[in-house]
């Protein structure tokens, strides 16, 4: 491993920028992601910053069952994120559609049909601690030695 790679690994482990996008949830998971910001969970002590700007994000949190309004927009947001990147599905909705996936529904789950999903956090809604631990366990798998793995 080169020195440059070692520096990159160190820097990436302490600075994970997160963007969350709500593709049709009930708001419950949204608010649990917001609760991660609160001083009790304090997501920033782990070096995770919630920016909500895809252009400077590393990790995309996908919340909600996939609604028709997001048909190609979710992919556009995903393509705006620079490499290396990962998407995490928060809650049951992007995994299976939860209780919205019934006859006569308008949604089109799972989110994995539209963008590659690296990790899933089930729950309706999951607890803030589970969301933080998912981000922290996915980040090293994706970001460490990214250039080596790409070659």
């Amino acid at each position: 491993m080169t020195l440059l790679q070692a520096v990159k690994n160190f820097v990436r482990s302490k600075s994970i920028h997160v963007c969350y996008v709500d593709v049709g949830s009930c708001n419950g998971c949204d608010i649990e992601v917001l609760a991660c910001l609160s001083p009790r969970y304090d997501i920033e002590q782990y070096g995770i910053y919630v920016h909500n700007n895809p252009r400077e994000a590393d990790i995309l949190l996908v919340i909600g069952a996939f609604t028709p309004g997001w048909e190609d927009k979710l992919r556009m947001i995903w393509e705006k994120i620079p490499d290396p990147k990962a998407a995490i599905a928060i809650g049951n909705c992007p995994i299976s559609g939860c209780l919205f996936d019934r006859p006569h529904t308008l949604i089109d789950p799972p989110a994995a049909k539209h963008i590659p999903i690296a990790a899933q956090v089930p729950g309706c809604p999951p607890r803030p601690t589970e969301i933080i631990s998912a981000v922290l366990s996915v980040a090293p798998l994706v970001f460490r030695d990214y250039e080596v793995a790409k070659r």
Binding site: C26, G28, I31, L99, F100, H104, T105
Partner: protein, 362 residues
Amino acid sequence: MKRTVDVSIPLGPVHPCFKEPARIKCETRGEYVIAAEVELGYMKKGIERIMRGRPWQEVMFLAERVCGICSVIHNMVYIEALEAMTSIPVPERAALLRVIVNELDRMQSHILANFSYCYTIEHETLAMYLLDIRERVMDELERITGARVTCAYIVPGGVRFDLRGEDDLHLRAALAIIEEEMTRYLQMFATGPLIALRSRGIGILTKDAAREAGAVGPTARASGMPETDRRLRHPTYQKIGFSPVSRDEGDNYARIMVRFEEVLASIGIIRTCLDLLQPGPIRGGGIPGAGEIAYSGEAPRGELSYFIRTDEAGRVLDISIQTPSIMNIEACCHAMLVGVASLADVSSTFVSADPCIACTER
């Protein structure tokens, strides 16, 4: 007359200040906003279409997931509509427990709305204080109902769980802390000079405009319409002697202050309920039958109405939900946003109306 429009500026749907996707299109002259339009349609899941033809037990969980922030009130209005339709009696203790849980839910929703506003005007210190105190409210909700969000606590004829052991002592202790802290934050908000610069006199909704747009909830009460509070017509609230909060300014400052004061009022309501609690049954049972009813309740954002028609087996044949945010978004884009002096105030004015897009589109 021809209007001079420099540029039409879109905000959203993915925007750092909005928690949910909505698009605001502002027609501006310089930075002065001449007209605004809110474009929705990113969250439509078709919940009412899913609900039709399903047994009431399943619709109960779907109704709760119309909105994840104010899930308790959706549960409460839906169940109370079924109870009123088939005259199911509710034990005294259960009615009071419902009010306690509903007020806790209202507190966390209002604190979250104020957090969003403070975050939008870049007062991050106060925002983080508010988000921290919200976790205490969530703890109490979880202690009583067993879940932080979407707890399905209210069932026909009662509630699921009683207060256990020393729950009421814990609740009283937490309320004392929350009251002390919220009073401090209210003072910080009321007297902060920079907050006043970003909030006072911005996004004014006059009483006439509020009435014309049909504004409800804290948005209407900040424009001097306390009679819009549906809690005044709820039997349990009538019994415990409830009086709504209202202010007359109608600007962003008034809307946030109304929410602060309602949190303090909710603490008072919960204390009254805890004093009135007598030992007794919490669940009488009862199965909804055939009928048709329109029923309203006061959600944290305003009046929430359900229209339900069921058959003998308790299947929901027809249901329609009217959520408060749709009126407030109308009031916001037709009255509040017009004449806002800069684009930075557009997002804060929109957030001050506390729009819940998930409720609005369902």
